[in-house]
Assembly symmetry: C2
Homo-oligomer: 313 residues x 2
Amino acid sequence: MTEFGLIEYVAKLFGDVERQEWEAIGDDCTVLPIGGGEVLVMTTDMLQEDVHFLRSATSARELGRKSLAVNLSDVAAMGVKPVATLLSIALPQDLTDEWAKEFLEGFHSLAKEHSVALVGGDTTSSRAGVSINVVAIGRGEAQRVKRRSAAQVGDVIYVAGELGVSALGLRDIFSGDVESDFAAQHRNPRPQVEEGVWLGARQEVHAMMDLSDGLASDLCHILKLSNCGAEIDVDAIPAVQGDVEAAVCGGEDYKLLFTVEESSAEAFERDFQLKFQYPVYRIGRVVASAEPTIQWFKDGDNITPSWRGFSHF
Amino acid sequence: MTEFGLIEYVAKLFGDVERQEWEAIGDDCTVLPIGGGEVLVMTTDMLQEDVHFLRSATSARELGRKSLAVNLSDVAAMGVKPVATLLSIALPQDLTDEWAKEFLEGFHSLAKEHSVALVGGDTTSSRAGVSINVVAIGRGEAQRVKRRSAAQVGDVIYVAGELGVSALGLRDIFSGDVESDFAAQHRNPRPQVEEGVWLGARQEVHAMMDLSDGLASDLCHILKLSNCGAEIDVDAIPAVQGDVEAAVCGGEDYKLLFTVEESSAEAFERDFQLKFQYPVYRIGRVVASAEPTIQWFKDGDNITPSWRGFSHF
């Protein structure tokens, strides 16, 4: 069973349980209205040793930071400020106290940077590898929430930073070069929390998500939920070292992907640059389409590359 | 490092991150006021193969139910109705689809009984055993929340059901009798959700928690946070098969333990019996004490047994 097969099975199974005010699964976070015009958003990620990380190729401190970072990225992708986290961790008995402390220090250092409180969790032993589960919770005004389903035909599609860094880092790690800059960035993704919160306040930003499985795969989630297609200009993709395949298919870049009302796009770009001192990249536009497909263009020609997303499963 | 060593380390480490409105760690759930006189309560539990369960000694369906049950029990212990859950699960690649489906069906069946919506989660593969993390969320009026810190000197101490069933079941499983009634009950704990919600509405109920590590250990959490001691009448403990040690030291009974204003105790007992058609057991009382200790009495004599709680770590 693939990850997506499981998710569909679960969704069908739970079709007979009333969701009350909780929004349906399908976005970066689930959304719960809590009154006073506010919502909570919530996400969870599980990291398994030898699937998501190799203990020999990452420090405990980096792993602690990253396990929180990927969840803060999901909260930011909703346009909402993360406020709290729950951490569950299972540790093999041969693991040193030092490793556990360093993991927690890494986790704490990122939590402190973003004023994210640790409000719960669980610790246990493991007969096999390290297992980590993190929940991140955001809180903010309901009107700022950016959903994958909100893209509109004519919107400009942006990414907030260069793509492919993490894929090149993973390539370096697999080839033994664990000390390269790319490898370090792969192990230390920076969640775009300030950017997400700022984008949440902008009415001209319609749909948003974070890039965890690669543009080719992730953009389709927006297209599917928004009932539209996309045209992407391959030459406009901010591919690190010009490696478009790494940029489009590589996972774990954790850059924000979002769509903006076309008439506001130029002013928006200027404001973003002014605020964050780096540019957003305009890579294409949302088009009417019966199928949620991406059309790739190079030098004006429609090309058909066989790009697929990255799978963690 | 023991489980409690880790938790203290984490608490110290996070002392410099503002908790905002979230209550401090230490109760069955964390509590978040959300306005309109309401709170959310939230808990999480991680279950590891070969630590918390043996795949050979439990069915996937039972494991699915139990992994939700232990979390619903924590929500109920706050006096609040569970409303939602998040499920993360890591599955070894040699596991059959059938196992995963049965696990989910078990999880779903209990969720449906209590109208608990699945609002998020994660699925991934595992290189080692099955790893499960469940979050349960409750929602209700702030005034109904029962905290471990609320016991008052003079309160009567109750447990809502017989104790030791799970310990006797575990004993049977270890001795190879996996089909015994006790073994079945060990694998299928019933969270006292209706009881917890009903108790939450009773003003005379002061402190409450669920029994997961055994009375000898768990009651001390209430005493510590309420700055008091307890006197327990050993003969009043509703020990299954008269096995007081199993009742006091055995884990995973998931019965509610709570304290009640002395002047209301008799009427309370009658009301509980009327509502649930089974009795609560009055096992002792809360006393003034500089140390959070339990004094055990048998036939009026103060005895000093060496009872300790159950450790999952």
